[in-house]
Amino acid sequence: MSYQEKRTIVNIATGLLVLAIYFIDTLGRYRSGAIALDDLESWAVAMLIFIGIYIAISIIIQIIFHILLAISLAAQKKIQDKTTCEEEIEKSIDLEFTDDEMVKLIELKSMRVGFSFAWIGFIVALVSLALNYPPAVMLNILIVSLFGGSVFSDITQLYYYRKGVR
């Protein structure tokens, strides 16, 4: 499995993990009565906090992932050829982390899928308002569609890495 595939899987796992934490926390608070459907201020604060948590968790997980991957690549290279110098190891790690034209093309194509998902979510959110659902429902549909768009974009990337792109 290539670096890009591993990175994508880590991104998907991070997105799903944060979304799960968000729903477990907010649903728990909603059921206990700590947050009401018409209390938009509380929902906005909860969402802002979770966006912050998502950014922080993403950065931490990416740093850990890159450190572990670099260590495993260096060890692999050393096992394959014990005479390998550090310069060669660094070069092979840099090459593994290279984002070339195919990677960029895949990112562009998958981003389109992610945006489409987010747009559909936005329209569904508007429909929910038009059907007289509480604004908190619309906000939650919006956040799910944004996170979902990001996850779908990553899943599409994984698909293209496996199936190829023309």
Partner: protein
């Protein structure tokens, strides 16, 4: 009936004749990721003209010795 152009390549054969050059070595020489070389070799990705020239350069051959094409009728 529409015609589809399928890009073919001889990368596996050229690697064999280049002293069994690994995909990693080719990636290093062509300035691409190993993932991309694997995809090109398997026919899952059609490289840009620039990348195609860089791969040919890595083998020290002309581009038409690395890449070719087939025309397929689309049904």
């Amino acid at each position: 009936m529409a015609k589809e152009i399928v890009i073919t390549n001889n990368i596996r054969k050229l690697r064999f004749f280049a002293n069994e050059m690994t995909q990693q070595e080719l990636a290093e020489k062509a300035g691409a990721s190993r993932q991309t070389i694997i995809a090109i070799e398997a026919g899952k990705y059609s490289p840009s003209l620039e990348m195609a020239f860089r791969i040919a350069e890595a083998f020290g051959v002309k581009i038409d010795e690395v890449f070719g094409y087939e025309i397929k009728e689309e049904s």
